[in-house]
């Protein structure tokens, strides 16, 4: 197998199957549909990936690699609240840049394939652990109220931003979810997470 960047059929298959898998789920797409979309022959899926599952795993690996930069939040310095804002900003940017990631994310959580244990779960645990570390740093520095459960707090933060995008197909016409409002959204979530909604 060549690993040149111009290995057409191989990379075309990954690129073409990504939106299909994201929108229809693993079982919702057929190999013929994928091959046609990629302009490749049907057999190339088995040839390069050993089968449909292998192609799906390759797609998932590519998708969840984009979560790795979050882990670097540990190394950089800055106050914990600033790190949380960096996390929010990176998450929004990631979803805007790659509109399919969230679907693989939640799709694997709800209907896990064998890839869940090997690819998805480790990626999620890494992010959650990083947020947990950031939170306990804030507690050590006596910036956060120590009465709060760290896990509840960081899952709340992650939930606010992820659920916002997850609900988009249902709330799109009720709520303005244009990218232009992203900065405002981040500011509001930071306000709620920091000070709450009460006057």
């Amino acid at each position: 197998m060549l690993t040149t960047p111009e290995n057409d059929s191989r990379s075309n298959l990954i690129a073409a199957s990504t939106p299909l898998f994201a929108e229809k789920g693993f079982n919702g797409v057929g190999v013929r549909e994928i091959a046609k979309a990629a302009g490749a022959n049907l057999s190339m899926i088995s040839y390069y990936f050993g089968g449909k599952e292998g192609l799906y795993a390759a797609v998932l690996n590519q998708q969840f690699d984009t979560l790795k930069p979050v882990l670097e939040l540990k190394e950089i310095d800055g106050d914990p609240m600033g790190k949380f804002e960096l996390y929010l900003r990176a998450t929004v940017a990631r979803y805007r840049m790659n509109p399919h990631l969230l679907r693989f994310y939640t799709g694997e959580l709800t209907n896990p394939t064998p890839c869940f244990e090997s690819i998805v779960k480790p990626a999620i645990l890494g992010v959650v652990q990083t947020l947990l570390d950031t939170f306990s740093m804030g507690v050590e520095q006596r910036r956060f109220r120590e009465a709060l459960n760290p896990a509840d707090a960081v899952l709340a933060l992650a939930g606010m931003i992820n659920f916002y995008f997850l609900l988009e197909p249902a709330t799109g016409e009720l709520v303005d979810q244009a990218p232009e409002r992203d900065e405002e959204l981040i500011r509001h979530i930071m306000e709620i997470f920091g000070k709450g909604i009460l006057r």
Copy 2:
């Protein structure tokens, strides 16, 4: 078609297919598997529901009917913050009572079937609208900070609680998500939503 509560094959099919659809998705289950689980003949699916899609629609209708009590938050009186707490409590209780609902919820959001527009989306919009009304009541009563975007705020609240359960398959061993902790979880989310995490 009889509508007696003891219409065995019909109700057995709904009951048996609910966990299957929830865990594997619509395309992940075959009609033979469903029929075997229900102890019914293959043909009963077409006979009672007109096909696999009809059975799925019946399951989804039953599932999302459990969201309707949320709409009654409008009628009851009480301060808005208390209503939000009722919403949290009802949501947790609903997920504990019916562990499949969340999977249909997010499954339809990520990989919508024709049922999404007719069943899922209206149900979600109803809940969000109810929360929006509750929030603006709080702003009118000058209890909430009016600088916040109502949609961002209520989606944040809904995200905190829903995402917590959604992530369970991934974070189960890192975070204690036992039902015994539910009351504590609700209290923490209410604290974060009301006052934030800052000291």
